[in-house]
């Protein structure tokens, strides 16, 4: 067994050094490729400008390589040389290289969008892989922008990919979005959606907006040819309770995949000037019933605070606007950390572990929803979801009695846990008000337990 352990350690260390070397080589390769690409692009443009006396008799700017690469597009009667030429000259910015952005970027790169920008400030994580299909396992821990750009370049080395490895904010949005013809909103939160829509109105850019959650998706083209903007439809932001995130509510991987593909399609239609963009209409995708509905939505609102008749929403106002305050939620997807309880009503996961090791009697209530509890739970935890806590208090009294915990200190050694330590605080507030005055929550929830006590404890 010991020899085995030695082997494992040796293999791990060799893997580590090989991976480091591989990453170094990959960086050098992509650097050289970028240099080469810029040089060939430069040459191509000087050649095409210099010698118009070429022997092929075509009155467009497609090189033989381009004709071959995009031949199936060129063969489409309604698309043809004109459509492809338009795409090659266009520039599209995809904001977010996640579930929506992954397929959107892949198809836009493959279609030959002349200049394709990617904005994201996140890094690739293992729990992204089920839906963010542009990233590969070898990029885990690296910036999403770098991973996405590498994938796009490996599909199409003839286009220019621009990496914006930044968090989009009012301070940089105008400058970044202004460099592109069409904007694709592939973000995952409400404040970003308002910010991007407003920025598109200020700059006069069409916006292809997609969203997906659970088993549903939505798609609309905003601010296109006098059509409505996001605020025309949703002048008041949804309450924070209604703003769900994939990280909390879950999402079937393929759902953003489908919406992201449709976003690429709408962006291509606008770029190539073919067809009828999804402006003034909203496409609703329902994965469970395999139903797609297109609902006619309102036109531009004359009273819209950003694009309306009397609106005076300037670049300066945009820069000064506080989108996090407006929507009462964060621009970054990092979950908020509440602090509702005094220190004496909280316990760290390490302290709890010590008490368990000492053999102190305790009752541990896990207030996560039942389907979360089924993923993983602590031993001896009782699952009473927060939503049904008040109705199920007798179960807690019963469990306390069973552990021989007396009523003198009501709820002593009663601990409450959830995923991240927010709902557990809400639960403790309820318990305190119902007489369990010594109940305490486990700070940081199961995530803290996994980080500080048991690194093998699964996180999700």
């Amino acid at each position: 067994m010991e020899a085995n352990g030695g082997d494992v350690a040796r293999i791990r260390s060799e893997l580590k050094s090989l991976k480091a070397a591989k990453s170094d080589i990959e960086t050098r390769i992509s650097g050289l490729e970028a240099q080469l690409r810029d040089l060939t692009l430069l040459n191509a443009s000087t050649v095409s400008n210099g010698s118009v006396t070429g022997d092929s008799s075509c009155n467009h700017e497609l090189s033989p390589d381009m004709i071959y690469r995009y031949s199936r597009h060129l063969l489409l009667p309604s698309f043809g040389v004109q459509g492809q030429s338009n795409i090659l000259k266009s520039s599209i910015l995809v904001i977010g290289a996640g579930g929506l952005g992954s397929p959107a970027l892949l198809y836009l790169a493959a279609s030959g969008v002349g200049r394709l920008g990617v904005v994201d400030h996140d890094i690739v994580e293992l729990n992204n892989m089920h839906r963010q299909v542009i990233h590969t396992e070898s990029f885990i821990g690296q910036p999403k922008v770098k991973s996405a750009a590498t994938a796009c370049r490996s599909i199409n080395s003839m286009i220019k990919i621009v990496e914006h490895q930044v968090a989009l904010r009012t301070s940089n949005a105008l400058e970044i979005l202004n460099q592109y013809d069409i904007i694709v909103d592939a973000t995952d939160n409400a404040p970003s959606r308002y910010m991007i829509s407003d920025c598109c109105v200020v700059l006069g850019k069409p916006l292809v907006s997609g969203a997906a959650l659970g088993l549903e998706g939505q798609l609309t083209v905003y601010n296109y040819n006098g059509g409505p903007c996001y605020r025309c439809l949703f002048p008041t932001p949804p309450p924070t309770t209604a703003c769900q995130r994939c990280a909390d509510s879950g999402v079937l991987g393929i759902v953003p995949g489908i919406i992201g593909c449709l976003q690429a399609l709408e962006a291509i239609k606008i770029a190539s000037a073919i067809g009828e963009p999804l402006s003034g209409r909203m496409l609703l995708f329902d994965a469970l019933s395999a139903r797609i509905r297109t609902v006619k939505i309102r036109g531009r609102s004359l009273d819209c605070e950003v694009c309306g008749e009397n609106a005076a929403f300037t670049q300066k106002q945009f820069r000064d606007f506080d989108y996090e305050r407006f929507t009462q939620s964060r621009l970054s997807t990092a979950p908020s950390k509440l602090n509702l309880l005094p220190a004496e009503s909280r316990i760290s996961s390490r302290e709890l572990m010590e008490k368990i090791v000492k053999g102190e009697p305790y009752v541990l209530v896990d207030v996560r929803p039942e389907h979360h509890f089924r993923i993983v739970s602590l031993p001896n935890a009782v699952n009473i979801p927060l939503s049904s806590l008040e109705a199920r208090l007798p179960e807690i009294s019963c469990a306390l009695n069973k552990e021989g915990i007396t009523d003198s200190e009501k709820g002593a050694n009663l601990y409450v846990v959830c995923r991240r330590g927010n709902d557990s605080q809400r639960a403790v507030q309820i318990l305190h008000s119902k007489g369990f005055t010594s109940a305490r929550d486990i700070t940081g929830g199961l995530e803290a337990w996994a980080r500080d006590v048991d690194p093998k404890f699964p996180t999700y």
Partner: protein, 101 residues
């Protein structure tokens, strides 16, 4: 759609004699979570507006109140306002925005 429209026309001629109208309500995104159903039938008194229907739905599912100010309302797949009169066999869709991705 075609079928729905034909039905709606047939129903139109009778609706004046009726005391109430029966419609179908479609729930999307957060509204679907709150209600727990993708759709449900609803009976309202004839002459009711979309707003009346919403009031009735909020009474049945109080959680819907939070969405009241932030949703697209559509009747038979076309944008509508809360003041629109609802007719027999109409399909009223409640569409809050999704922001995930």
């Amino acid at each position: 759609m075609d079928v729905t429209e034909v039905k709606a026309e047939n129903a139109d001629s009778q609706s004046s004699k009726k005391e109430s109208v029966k419609i179908k309500v479609l729930f999307f995104a957060r509204a679907r979570d709150i209600v727990g159903l993708p759709s449900m039938p609803l009976e309202v008194s004839s002459g009711s507006t979309a707003s009346d229907c919403l009031n009735k739905l909020v009474a049945l599912f109080p959680g819907l109140e939070e969405l009241r100010g932030c949703m697209v309302l559509a009747v038979n797949e076309e944008y509508t306002t809360e003041s629109a009169i609802i007719k027999e066999e109409d399909e009223l869709a409640i569409i809050p925005p999704i922001s995930g991705g």
